[in-house]
Structures are given as structure tokens and as C-alpha cells.
């Protein structure tokens, strides 16, 4: 006999087939869109003065509604730090939820894309197109027992996932999602992002050590060696856009670029073009993605550093791994690919549309949404490339990993740094414009050649059929 609880998802969706589609649409679009809009509403108020002004205005507006004259002067109030703390908690809540939703949704995207690449279907049962599979996975993992091996170091074993979690969440503070959608625009933003994202490796190393398992130890040590080595080329390659923009602030770097591809830093300078690839390769290695997934190499180390983890703690590790793709891709987009810049709109347009006083005009909001969409599309495109690489390339060996880093990427990144210095001093802005046109054209030609070759290669195989009916 089958015992069904009231909330059995299969019987519910069988009875109301549209429920699955509605739930999917909600999880796939309404939830992220809600988070983005919440971010758009909250993040711009990131200074005490703006919070003061907003709270004062809100109180006055509420007072008018009920016909009273409510005057709040938050700036002079003893409770103002409580309000600031609540505000920060709200911001953190949005960012953490965004990381979790992206981490989950990207596992679905990865599995579907991998399925298509591998001539199989991928998850397509839970929700429309299987989108809710990641929710089901999360529920399953949270409900599972959180086992801790008897011989493990209890405290460190429990703490390790949180180190990784911190390393994932801290860079969200400086990552600009749109023209004014950034938690805080630090003047050391690039430095801060590089420093905090390295926290993930602390979690890997601690979990590898605390598990008291040989496989986990292998994974932890590999992870530590790998991430620490690749911090160096990643850091130097990130300095190239810093040199070109003359600032370490993330928003400053985006504002120094433009909306059109030939205005992006990656095409403004041949050294930056190379540095972009060095930065992306290094960040793949830092994020433990194939071809650099040595710390959790399944065919060698079974599961690597998280071999002994289960339940919620494993879920945290996996979430960090996938949500890290957003940080990796987002940083590359911000530094090299023009970030949120909307073509044809310059800084004065944003200021003009903002108008005077709060709230800003509708046009400003629409422009903000456009800038966020552009950032999201670019970042997802890069995330797709990461997924694509993962399901195409084999894994390098640990000595090859080190030699790629120290023999090629580090000297290459230094060279890019020096060439960029000279380029900035010697080449006039018009020369950079022409370089931008030339490199954009070059990139388009490479892309075209790639597409033509792919088409020809597909045609070479006789009797091949691409079956798209199982989506």
C-alpha cells in the first residue's frame, strides 16, 4: 500500500498538471526577478545618509496616510544603528538567497546542458523541463542525516563548510549587478574580491584534514596547493584592468569601459586580451572546475575533500562550488567584458534620469533593469562556457597543473602587466579605439570560423541524428 501525505508532490502535480508549470515559472523567473528587484530597491541605499533620508521620508509618507504628522530624525536617533544593522541583515539575506538560488538553478542548467552534450536527457521529471530537480535535491540533502565520522576532528569537521560558505558570500559585497545595484563600492574592491574568494580553500583544506580520511586528505592538500598557486596569475591578470581604469573600485572599472564590445577592456589592448584568458583559466582552477577539478577528481580520489560529508554540510559544499561560478564569471565580466554597461548610455544619462530627490524616475529604474539584464546575460554566457569546458576537457595531472601555472600563466600575466603599463603610457586613446575595433573583428572572425568548422565536422559523420524531441 502506498501511503501518501497531504503534500506529496507527485500526486499533487498529477492532479493539477498546471501546478508544476506554475511552480517552475515561479522558481525559475519570479524568485530570481524578485531578488533582483529587492536588490535594486535596497542596495542603492547603502550609505547612512541615504538610509536616514529614506526612513524619514517613509515615516512622513505613512503619517500622511493616517493623517498624522510623523517626524523621524533617524540621524539623531539613538536607535539608528539598530536600523542600520537591520538594513545590513536584509542586504545579506538577499545576497545569500541569490547565491543559493543561483547555485541551485545552475546545477539544473549544468545537468541539462551536459545531458544535451552527452546525447542523453538529463533531469526532466520534477517541474516543467525538470527545473525543480534542484529543489528536490536540496530538500533531499537537507533531510539526510548529517553523519560525522567517529575518528574525525569534530569541531573542524563541522566548521569547514562555513569557511567555504564565507568565501563564497563575501565577494558578493563588491560585485556590481547593475549601475547602482552593488552592496558597497569599496575603493579596494578588486583586492577585496581576490582576498575573500580565497577563503573557499580554507574550507577545502580544513575539511580534508578534519575528515581523517586518506581520500579527503589528498583532496585537501591538492586544493590548497592549486588554489594558492593560481591566486598569483589571477591576481596579476586582474591588475591589468586596474591599470587601464586607474582604480581598484569595481564600479570605477566598469565606468571606465563602455557598452559596445570595442569599448570593453578585453579588446582595448592586446595584453588585456591575453590577460582575460589567463584570468578565466586561473579562476577555473580556483573554483575547482574541470580541467582543474583535482581536489575532487572522481576517478582518482572518489570524492576528494568532501568524501566524508553528507546531508546539509555536503549541500553547502556543493552550493559553494556551483554558486562560485557566478563569482568567477561575474568578476571576469566586470573587469574585462564591460560589466553592466548599456550601449549608448553614459554616466550623465543615469544622473539625468535619476532627477532630484527620492524616489527616482521610472526611466531610471528601467535603465537600471536594463543594466542588470546585460550583466546577467553576459555572466550566464560565461557560466555556459565554464559548463561547456567542464563537459569537454579531460583533467590535467597535478604536476602539469603546477607547471601550467608557474611556467606559463605567471610569466604571461607579468608580461601582460608590463605591456599594459607601456600601452597606457605610449598609446593615445584613438589608438586604443582602433585596437578595440580590430580585436573585436578578430574575435568575431574566430567565432565564425568555429561555427563553420563545427557545422562541417557534424556533417562529416554519416547517419548522425540530433534528437531534440526529448526536451
Amino acid at each position: 500500500m502506498r501511503i501518501t501525505l497531504g503534500l506529496d508532490s507527485t500526486s499533487l502535480t498529477r492532479r493539477y498538471p498546471k501546478l508544476a508549470i506554475l511552480a517552475t515559472l515561479f522558481m525559475a523567473f519570479a524568485l530570481p526577478a524578485g531578488l533582483y528587484l529587492a536588490a535594486l530597491a535596497i542596495f542603492p541605499l547603502n550609505t547612512p545618509e541615504r538610509i536616514d533620508a529614506t526612513v524619514d521620508a517613509l515615516a512622513a509618507w505613512c503619517g500622511r496616510l493616517v493623517g498624522a504628522d510623523w517626524q523621524v530624525h533617524l540621524a539623531g536617533s539613538p536607535y539608528r544603528y539598530l536600523v542600520y544593522t537591520l538594513f545590513l541583515l536584509l542586504v545579506a539575506f538577499i545576497a545569500v538567497n541569490y547565491a543559493a538560488v543561483f547555485g541551485g538553478a545552475s546545477t539544473w542548467v549544468e545537468r541539462r546542458v551536459a545531458g544535451r552534450m552527452q546525447s542523453r536527457i538529463g533531469p526532466n521529471r520534477t517541474g516543467a523541463a525538470g527545473f525543480l530537480a534542484w529543489v528536490a535535491d536540496a530538500v533531499k540533502m537537507v533531510l539526510k542525516e548529517d553523519t560525522i565520522p567517529a575518528s574525525a576532528d569534530q569541531l573542524l569537521f563541522r566548521a569547514a563548510p562555513y569557511f567555504s560558505m564565507v568565501g563564497l558570500l563575501l565577494p558578493f559585497v563588491v560585485l556590481p549587478f547593475g549601475e547602482s545595484t552593488v552592496v558597497t563600492d569599496m575603493n579596494v574592491g578588486v583586492f577585496y574580491a581576490a582576498a575573500t574568494s580565497a577563503f573557499v580553500v580554507v574550507g577545502i583544506l580544513v575539511s580534508g584534514w578534519a575528515s581523517n580520511s586518506k581520500w579527503a586528505l589528498f583532496g585537501g592538500i591538492r586544493g590548497a596547493a592549486q588554489v594558492l598557486s593560481y591566486e598569483i596569475p589571477a591576481g596579476i591578470a586582474m591588475m591589468v584592468p586596474v591599470l587601464m581604469a586607474g582604480t581598484l573600485s569595481m564600479q570605477g572599472i566598469v565606468r571606465a569601459q563602455g557598452g559596445w564590445p570595442w569599448e570593453w577592456f578585453v579588446f582595448r589592448n592586446p595584453a588585456a586580451f591575453v590577460a582575460f584568458f589567463i584570468a578565466v583559466t586561473s579562476s577555473l582552477a580556483e573554483g575547482n572546475r574541470t580541467p582543474f577539478d583535482l581536489p575532487e577528481a572522481e576517478s582518482e580520489l572518489v570524492a576528494g575533500y568532501h568524501a566524508e560529508y553528507s546531508g546539509f554540510r555536503l549541500a553547502i559544499f556543493l552550493m559553494v562550488e556551483w554558486a562560485n561560478m557566478w563569482i568567477m564569471a561575474g568578476l571576469a565580466v566586470t573587469l574585462f567584458l564591460g560589466g553592466w554597461q548599456v550601449p549608448q548610455f553614459v554616466a550623465e544619462d543615469y544622473a539625468r534620469l535619476f532627477g532630484t530627490g527620492l524616489p527616482p524616475s521610472l526611466g531610471w529604474f528601467l535603465l537600471q533593469v536594463a543594466s542588470m539584464l546585460i550583466f546577467i546575460i553576459k555572466t550566464w554566457a560565461l557560466v555556459f562556457v565554464f559548463i561547456w569546458l567542464r563537459w569537454t576537457l579531460p583533467r590535467v595531472r597535478v604536476d602539469q597543473l603546477m607547471s601550467v601555472c608557474w611556467k606559463y600563466l605567471v610569466p604571461g600575466a607579468f608580461l601582460c602587466f608590463i605591456v599594459t603599463l607601456l600601452w597606457q603610457m605610449l598609446v593615445p586613446p584613438v589608438g586604443m579605439d582602433y585596437t578595440g575595433y580590430a580585436l573585436t573583428l578578430f574575435a568575431l572572425l574566430v567565432l565564425g570560423k568555429f561555427l563553420v568548422d563545427t557545422r562541417r565536422n557534424i556533417a562529416k559523420v554519416k547517419g548522425h541524428r540530433v534528437d531534440l524531441s526529448n526536451w
Partner: protein, 385 residues
């Protein structure tokens, strides 16, 4: 004195250990041991000092079973010796017992055996090269290889009703004739295969990372390969041009023209992992050639020789040697004149490949050990039987 059966303790005893060294059990449950095998590995971090294969987890007493059941009744058991290339296990046993009985399969049966065997070789090599890519860290080639293997399995299912444990051959012939229109389906698949292998090469064989991972790794010299008794693609990967189909011809093979691919050291040294891998890729194309010739020349006639209902060979012994997908597979059958074999012995390619792993394991890296195991294409049930 009692023999210490704990191989982990044995490894530790035979080598002096220092504080930095640990002993890791790669297996018996491990994603890349291709079945239930244990590699007791003494290692200082990433560099392996030695790795000793510990076999026997899958021993099912298949040779003993051969002495307990009548001759025809053993045929389904041979499938279980090597479930990825069961056609050859069938064929080797049938050949050995046919020699005991002094009968020979009719020409059409011999051709059907060759066609089914070569299809099975293609299906086995797809698994082999696909899992090898997975062991090196690329997930996609395996699923593509499995997709192609499905086509072979469909064809073999149409021929004999089974997709894995075929039980297709009989002593004195084969159980089933080719279904109508089957030959055209096979030719269509082979047309696809010949062009598909190039795509597979583009996908993984010549991938820069893949070549770097395999070239100059696990080099087995020609002399080593012969000394350790390697067979099949492992032997040919070291440049030894030895193939039972050509050198000790059996069945219909003398009628066919085909090359024997050998390792050439294209990206490194002759006999490295990449050579063994690529020998298998090329062998699929050679199998395709053989099947085309066999289908073109397929003779008409009986598919079973005249064999008595009850098989009672005269006392004596016989050997059946076939070129299995994993190299020479040898059945040695001793008859005492009764309905059952007095003694049955199977010599398999995977078992021969296990011995050399310890020799190759000194000073290699952990990832190299995985590459070597994969390149030797070992299948656990074939080792242990």
C-alpha cells in the same frame, strides 16, 4: 607457518616505511578500478612508491563449474567470464570442445562467428576507450561511446536475443542464423562507425590535455610486454605485431584481409598509455573491414555441424585460442570420456595484465596509476573468473 593473506600488511612488511608514507587501498570499491579489484598502494602524497594489485574479489569458481556441468551446459557460463566481450568467451570454449570432438563448424557458422565477434569487439572497445576517457577526467566521450555501443547491442540483440550475455555460439556451430535484412543494418552502422571514429578522435583522442596525460606514461617496452605475457592490444601497443587471428588462424579469419594496428609512439614512447589506447581505436576500424568482407563473402549452408545429442568426447585434451577483445583467450579442456570436462582452465588477457602494474607503479603519480589501469583495459570478472 600460516600464510598472511592480508596484502596491506604484506606490502608494509616488504618495504621499509617512513613517517611520510601511507598505504591507500584503491578499491575494492573505487570509481576507476573497473570492477572489484584492490590496488594496495604505498605512496608519499602524489608519488606512488609501489602499487600491488589484490585480485580475487570476483572469483566465482567458473573453471570449477566447467567441470561440474555437461559440455553444452557450460556455454552460458562462459558469458560471465568476460561480460563485455562474451562472444569470444563463447567462441573459445566452442573451439576447444570442437577439437576434442574432432568436428568443425560449417563455413557459414564460422562466418557468423567472425561477424558477431567483430561486432562484439567494436562494442567492447567503445566501452574501453570511453571509460579510459572518464578515468582521465572527461565525462562526455563515455556517453558518446555508450550511445554507439547501443547500436551494436541492438544488432546483436536482433541476432541472438541478448545484449550482454549472448550465449550465441554452440559446440559445432552457432545457435541462430542471421535475421533477414540484418546485413544491411550492419553495413549502415559500419558506414556510420567509420566516419564516427574521426569525430571521436577530434573529441578526445587528439585532445591536447588527453595526449599530455597519456603520452610517455606507463611505458611497457617490447621485451617487458613479452616477458610479462601481455596479450592483445596491450601487447600490440608495445609494438609487437602478434594477433591470434593472423598468426594462429582459426574460424573464418584466414579468408579476410586486415591490418594489425600496433603502437607507434606517435606522441611519446612506443608502448605508452596513448599507444595502447589508440590501438583499440584503430582496431575498431579493422573490425569494420572484417565484417564488410565477411558479409560480402558469406557462404550459404548449414549453421550447425552434425554433433551427437550427448557429447562424450574421447579421453584427451584440447586447446581453443581466440583473439578476444582483451587479447588471447585460451581454453584448455581435458576430457576423461564422460559428459563433463575433467579439467577446464581459462587463461584471460586481463589476468596477464595485472602482473605488470606493480612493475610500472614505481615512482609514478596517483593519476598515472589510474591511466595505466584504464589503458590495460582490465575487467574484474575476467581476472578472477
Amino acid at each position: 607457518m600460516a600464510i598472511d593473506m592480508n596484502i596491506e600488511r604484506q606490502v608494509l612488511r616488504r618495504t621499509e616505511t617512513s613517517a611520510e608514507e601511507i598505504v591507500v587501498n584503491f578499491g575494492p570499491q573505487h570509481p576507476s578500478t573497473h570492477g572489484v579489484i584492490n590496488f594496495v598502494t604505498q605512496t608519499t602524497g602524489e608519488i606512488i612508491r609501489r602499487s600491488v594489485p589484490d585480485v580475487g574479489y570476483l572469483h566465482r569458481g567458473l573453471e570449477k563449474i566447467g567441470e561440474l556441468v555437461p559440455y553444452p551446459g557450460y556455454m552460458p557460463f562462459t558469458d560471465r567470464i568476460d561480460y563485455l566481450a562474451a562472444m569470444f568467451a563463447n567462441e573459445g570454449y566452442a573451439l576447444a570442445v570442437e577439437r576434442l570432438l574432432s568436428v568443425e563448424a560449417p563455413p557459414r557458422a564460422r562466418y557468423i562467428r567472425a561477424i558477431a565477434g567483430e561486432l562484439c569487439r567494436i562494442s567492447n572497445h567503445f566501452i574501453s576507450i570511453g571509460t579510459m576517457a572518464t578515468d582521465i577526467g572527461a565525462a562526455t566521450p563515455l556517453t558518446h561511446a555508450l550511445r554507439e555501443r547501443e547500436s551494436v547491442n541492438d544488432l546483436l540483440e536482433e541476432l541472438c536475443g541478448a545484449r550482454l550475455t549472448f550465449n550465441c555460439h554452440r559446440i559445432g556451430g552457432v545457435a541462430y542464423d542471421l535475421p533477414a535484412g540484418w546485413g544491411d543494418k550492419v553495413l549502415r552502422f559500419l558506414d556510420h562507425l567509420d566516419s564516427y571514429v574521426q569525430e571521436f578522435d577530434r573529441l578526445i583522442s587528439f585532445n591536447k590535455i588527453y595526449v599530455k596525460r597519456l603520452a610517455n606514461v606507463g611505458v611497457i617496452t617490447r621485451a617487458q610486454a613479452i616477458d610479462y605475457g601481455l596479450v592483445g592490444p596491450n601487447l600490440r601497443g608495445s609494438g609487437v605485431k602478434w594477433d591470434v587471428r593472423r598468426d594462429l588462424p582459426y574460424g573464418a579469419y584466414p579468408d579476410f584481409e586486415f591490418d594489425i594496428p600496433v603502437g607507434t609512439g606517435r606522441f611519446g614512447t612506443v608502448g605508452d598509455c596513448w599507444d595502447r589506447y589508440y590501438v583499440r581505436v584503430q582496431e575498431m576500424l579493422e573490425s569494420s573491414k572484417i565484417i564488410r568482407q565477411a558479409l560480402a563473402k558469406l557462404p550459404e549452408g548449414e549453421i550447425m555441424a552434425k554433433v551427437p545429442r550427448k557429447l562424450k568426447p574421447e579421453a584427451g585434451e584440447a586447446v581453443g585460442r581466440v583473439e578476444s577483445a582483451r587479447g588471447e583467450m585460451l581454453y584448455y579442456v581435458v576430457s576423461d570420456g564422460s559428459e563433463k570436462a575433467h579439467r577446464l582452465r581459462v587463461r584471460t588477457g586481463s589476468f596477464m595484465a595485472m602482473a605488470i602494474i606493480e612493475e610500472l607503479s614505481h615512482g609514478i603519480m596517483v593519476a598515472d596509476l589510474i591511466a595505466i589501469i584504464a589503458s590495460l583495459d582490465v575487467v574484474a570478472p575476467e581476472i578472477d573468473r
